[in-house]
Symmetry: C2
Subunit: 221 residues, 2 copies
DNA sequence: ACCTGAACACCGTTCAAGT
DNA sequence: ACCTGAACACCGTTCAAGT
């Protein structure tokens, strides 16, 4: 299995190659479909061969997160609010093609090195911008997973809406939500029911950053 | 298996009983440990018996969420900001004993009826408080999963800190995070490294609600 | 008609046997 | 010493056989 029919050796496995293949697989098929066995198959390798490069599946997931988070670029220059805002939007762009990262990060008990590095850098941006240690602490918690550009929605509303009859029934049962779904903002996004995720993300982001700037300027400890 | 040794019939299975047992099991052992087979065993029943009350595991999870979310009390009375704030804190208290709800809700593609009802009610509170349809829409997205009282942290920092040597090494690698971990706010919570989750949640909540009130008062469409 | 044991197609991971 | 096939202890769910 290690030697293809033509006799040439396959490119040997490495931790890097395993992680890259896992990321590509998760991008294409989602993390639910990702199993050690499927991944091994994808790499043309016996399942047990993976265990020489990752201790177990949890370490595989950590490695995948670390790989992707490590690709987020460094911060730019300017006032703290501009720099923080742009860095977060940059992280969001980096993670855009890897929608599984949010769920995996939030399901892991401890942060990976790349994630710690990113968070440390973000905390440094607040401090450099004149935030006290305590306010920086509050700011980091208040931003939470939004620091990585996660939307923090309660559910994935990108799914196709059900047929009109069911929709009408839902509108009757949940009038206020129906009212929101019918608003102009929604139609701008895509089909009925779809929202402009990016606009909503930036709205919430600015709400938080503006609030934090007010506290900073007010000299809150 | 349906008849115990003493010949008395077991209390018959019902959807309600299945869901309550599943919630209790998840509370005690977590959703990772929850399987159809383990749950059946817990109920003294053959695995297939569950499938008469729930179509599959996804429907079981939806039912569990619905059961718990349905226990959130109705809103109180007063100004919009007070009512919204108290309702969210009430939801947070209700979900406090069911830490698995956050992950399950966010992993399901569609909201359950009880969740839709709760969200509809929350949207109604904004509208009644003088929010335009569009601002209500933005507000709902900006709050996101915080509407249910979820902390939205990037990882679970309640885990025990590692030994002092590793900690010192981490502090050197991530100086800004070390600075935050050493702040007085942290020590107030619990042991070193632990935070006062509730205080941080309320800080972020008020940051958002104050920002929204400013927009509402400013007459933003 | 109802119930359920066995079976199917999977998992992550261990371990001993083979080279 | 290295590699790996078989095995172990699980999954969710189907299905046919038994009552």
């Amino acid at each position: 299995m290690n030697k293809p029919a033509d006799g040439t050796r396959r490119t040997p496995l490495s931790r890097e190659r395993v992680l890259r293949a896992a990321v590509a697989f998760a991008d294409a098929e989602g993390t639910d479909a990702l199993s050690m066995r499927r991944l091994a198959q994808e790499l043309g390798v016996v399942p047990m061969a993976l265990y020489k490069h990752v201790a177990n599946k949890d370490e595989l997931l950590d490695g995948m997160v670390d790989l992707v988070v490590g690709e987020i670029g460094p911060p730019g220059e300017g006032g703290w609010q501009h720099v923080v805002r742009e860095r977060i939007l940059s992280a969001r762009r980096t993670l855009r093609g890897h929608p599984w990262v949010a769920r995996v990060v939030e399901s892991r008990p401890a942060p990976t090195p790349a994630l710690l590095g990113y968070l440390d850098s973000m905390a440094g941006l607040f401090r450099a911008g004149g935030f006290s240690v305590d306010l920086t602490h509050h700011a980091m918690h208040a931003m939470g997973s939004r620091l990585l550009g996660f939307s923090q929605e309660l559910f994935d509303d990108t799914a196709a809406p059900p047929d009109p009859e069911v929709l009408a029934q839902l509108a009757r049962a949940y009038p206020h939500i129906a009212e929101l779904a019918g608003s102009a903002e929604h139609d701008a996004g895509s089909a009925v029911g779809g929202c402009d995720d990016q606009a909503e993300f930036e709205f919430a982001l600015d709400l938080l950053l503006d609030g934090l700037e007010r506290l900073r300027a007010g000299g809150r400890r």
